[in-house]
């Protein structure tokens, strides 16, 4: 038998026969699959293009039964979906914040570029302060924008980024605590991690939004967004701790022993020897946690915040001008597309890192 052609281009006819029509059952599967694919594709094209509405300044055209997508709804609400009720004149501040983040994130994500330490320090220490000043305002001559006006993709990104950044140090401490030889510290860490991982995020958010105000002295009131951030950070810290623990466990015992033999203290051993190696190994895992967190941020709509999904949901449900089945479908499609682009991009990046970090020890 001739060797199977690896690609379609090498030998189209043979490739088709080998991969699609090798047996009767295979042929049946191919036909079934082709029918399914054709049906999905035509239904989608019909919805997105042929039956879709492209123009109009309100939803009249979209209210007709049997219309497909209602694209003017998206054009019309784009600002709302991206920034929420953030004042029009101040939106440049949001864009500037994005730009400042990207300026450091992009070089950080390309392995070849040096200066990772400085970039990380900027992102973890300087950038949060700058971002807070820019977004919240009320100082340095910037108009104050209360967080109630924030919304859309801005809130989604703020919750996800602050959640991951704040949970990172806590996650490292919990992971170290779980592997500590001191029983009180170990059991306290295990207790926290297992309790948080055992309950749904929505109950943690309920707790943060309903119970946190009860826990604090009555003269302290905290912002709704901040409450959600506390809940999200605590929740993701528990998951991050388990990811980091996996990295700590994969460091050979000899590294710990060598550090001890050199007479390093616990902090020196962890800070200079173990954590740098473990964290590097866990980067793909951390990116995966971040993807999970990014999708989970949509839950903040249940406690009354307007993230991207929350604001889409509000727009399709309660704007009488646009209220129609086709608008709802289009709105959800748009939100899904944005979430998908972010999550899929990050998962590709994580797969790329995994490939790079794979030292080839596995068989």
């Amino acid at each position: 038998m001739r060797a199977k052609p690896k690609t379609f281009a090498a030998d189209p006819l043979r490739w088709t026969r080998d991969n699609l029509f090798s047996t009767w059952s295979n042929t049946a599967l191919t036909l079934l699959g082709a029918a399914l694919a054709a049906w999905i594709l035509t239904a989608f094209l019909d919805w997105a293009i042929f039956s879709a509405v492209f123009t109009g300044s309100d939803g009249t055209a979209c209210k007709v039964d049997g219309t497909g997508a209602c694209w003017p709804f998206i054009w019309h609400k784009m600002g709302l979906f991206m920034y929420g009720r953030y004042p029009d004149a101040e939106r440049w501040r949001v864009n500037l914040t994005y730009g400042l983040a990207l300026a450091a994130l992009v070089p950080l994500m390309i392995p070849r570029i040096p200066g990772k330490l400085w970039l990380s320090l900027y992102l973890l220490i300087a950038f949060p302060v700058i971002a807070y000043v820019l977004l919240r305002g009320g100082m340095l001559g910037l108009v104050g924008v209360p967080t109630e006006l924030w919304g859309g993709l801005l809130v989604t990104l703020v919750v996800a980024c602050v959640g991951i950044a704040a949970s990172f140090p806590l996650g490292i401490l919990l992971a170290l605590g779980r592997r500590s030889e001191l029983p009180v510290i170990r059991y306290a860490s295990i207790g926290f991690i297992e309790i948080v991982r055992g309950v749904p995020l929505i109950t943690v958010l309920f707790m943060a939004s309903v119970m946190l105000p009860l826990f604090l002295p009555s003269d302290i009131t905290i912002d709704k967004l901040l409450r959600a951030l506390v809940g999200v950070a605590l929740f993701s810290a528990a998951y991050l701790a388990e990811t980091i623990r996996g990295g700590l466990q994969s460091i050979p015992r000899g590294q710990y022993e060598a550090a001890d033999a050199l007479g390093l203290s616990y902090a020196q051993k962890m800070g200079f020897i173990i954590l740098p190696q473990a964290l590097k190994l866990t980067i793909p895992g951390i990116v995966n946690s971040f993807i999970a967190l990014f999708k989970d941020t949509s839950l903040v709509l249940i406690i009354g915040l307007f993230d991207l999904l929350g604001i889409v949901q509000q727009s399709v449900q309660s704007d009488p001008k646009w209220y129609a089945h086709s608008t709802a479908t289009t709105g959800y499609f748009f939100a899904g597309l944005v979430f998908w682009l972010f999550c899929f991009g990050m998962s590709r990046y994580s797969a790329f890192l995994e490939q790079r970090l794979d030292t080839g020890n596995r068989n």
């Binding site: 991969n19 699609l20 090798s22 295979n26 599967l29 191919t30 699959g33 082709a34 399914l36 694919a37 030889e181 001191l182 029983p183 009180v184 510290i185 306290a188 297992e194 309790i195 991982r197 055992g198 309950v199 749904p200 995020l201 929505i202 109950t203 309920f206 707790m207 309903v210 119970m211 105000p213 009860l214 826990f215 604090l216 002295p217 009555s218 007479g263 203290s265 993807i291 999708k295 989970d296 949509s298 839950l299 709509l301 249940i302 999904l309 949901q313 399709v316 089945h325 709802a328 479908t329 959800y332 939100a335 899904g336 979430f339 998908w340 999550c343 899929f344 998962s347 068989n363």
Partner: protein, 397 residues
């Protein structure tokens, strides 16, 4: 610490004990306990003060008070005059129902798609990949909205609903099907079913012992299926099939009678099953890929057919890799069922941490009970998993 000089170091300062790792350990732990105790004290006193100021009662007395609200779906008898405790059990039952059905559907779909990813058929493999990459990268909550608003709202109104197979109706109010009702002999059928299950357990133990002693295999799957289904079916038929169906009939606004499956339930079930299936598919794929190629080659070398090799060699070993992360997905699905609150399916969170919390205002008790339920489910499952893993682990020399 800095022992540069060879002579033993003399205790020279009262600070020296601080450098003893044991004493340091004790100090750190005492500090942690003190910090946690302080935190707990602050929380308790602040909460007590805040509750007193807002005139909210505390304690668990509210559980026996009348709930005073209706719940759209309930597996136990429940009226608006029932207690808050009854509402709690209705919510818990609904959570467990949707989780159990979701787990079954997600597993079936996940295995089909996971095997599809490994298919030698290029089109099937690509379609499965497309499914996985699209579904797992979109938030579950958004998928629930899509099922609930975009799919189920597009159904006809009750008056325009066309019958499916002549008996069932699918409209915006849900799926209406005939409700099977047993006229008599229910307990006889139950006894027959229990006997069948007991016989199956016995047969499995006997067959394993026989295989260990003689190497002969027994067709366990089909005989077990026969024993579980056979006896109750036989008794049912002997009793003259005492069954009738209550048909759904169109009333003024909606269907009455029959069995109505709520759209909220269907949307939640579909969302959970399709979302979790995309993760299960990846687990199945990597589990099967994780079985070393040599195992399959060895199986065909000793003359097993392709199907036998798959069933007796590859799948048992793949299951060992698949089951731990699969259980994790089952737990995730159960926890994710709490998103029911967003589309109004009366699960535990929606009934208890939603309506009951709003009515009583006793946030502390209600949220703690709700969290305790999920925690108990998680802990029980992980205890079972540890036991299972210990049993399944490869016993090495």
């Amino acid at each position: 610490m800095m022992q540069r000089n060879p002579q033993p170091l003399q205790p020279s300062s009262w600070l020296d004990p601080l450098y003893d790792p044991k004493i340091r350990g004790i100090i750190f732990q005492v500090l942690l306990v003190l910090a946690l105790a302080f935190l707990a004290y602050e929380i308790v006193t602040n909460t007590a003060a805040n509750l007193r100021r807002q005139n909210i009662a505390s304690g668990f007395d509210f559980l026996s008070r009348t709930a005073g609200f209706d719940i759209s779906q309930s597996m136990i008898p429940y009226k608006s005059t029932s207690s808050y405790a009854a509402a709690f059990f209705v919510g818990l039952g609904n959570t467990l129902l949707v989780a159990a059905l979701g787990i079954v559907l997600a597993t079936l779909l996940g295995f089909v798609i996971g095997l599809g990813r490994l298919s030698s058929n290029w089109l099937i493999a690509k379609l499965s990949l497309l499914y996985v990459e699209v579904v797992r990268n979109v938030p579950l909550l958004l998928q629930l909205f899509i099922w609930y608003v975009a799919v189920l709202r597009a159904l006809p109104m009750p008056h325009d609903a066309k019958p499916i197979a002549g008996v069932a109706y699918f409209d915006t109010r849900g799926l209406h099907t005939p409700l099977p009702l047993l006229d008599q002999g229910g307990w006889l059928i139950a006894i027959a079913a229990l006997t069948g299950i007991a016989l199956t357990v016995w047969l499995n133990i006997w067959a394993r012992q026989r295989q260990e002693q003689t190497g002969q295999r027994f067709p366990l799957f089909w005989s077990s299926l026969g024993l579980v289904v056979g006896p109750p079916l036989l008794v049912f038929l002997l009793l003259g099939a005492p069954l009738h169906f209550e048909q759904p009939t169109l009333g003024r606004f909606n269907f009455d009678g029959g069995l109505t499956i709520l759209p909220e339930f269907l949307a939640l079930l579909a969302g959970l099953a399709f979302y979790t299936a995309s993760f299960i598919a990846e687990i199945v794929r990597s589990g099967i890929e994780g079985v070393p190629r040599g195992q399959k080659e060895a199986a065909s070398a000793i003359g097993l057919s392709n199907a036998q090799a798959l069933r007796l060699v590859v799948i048992p070993q793949a299951l060992r890799l698949i089951i731990p992360p699969l259980t994790n997905q089952y737990l995730n699905l159960t926890k994710n069922s709490a998103l029911a609150v967003a589309i109004g399916y009366p699960d535990l969170v929606s009934v208890f941490a939603g309506t009951v919390l709003n009515q009583t205002g006793q946030a502390v008790e209600v949220v703690l009970i709700t969290m305790a339920v999920y925690l108990a489910i998680s802990l029980l499952t992980s205890m079972f998993m540890n036991w299972f893993n210990a049993r399944m682990a490869i016993v090495e020399r």
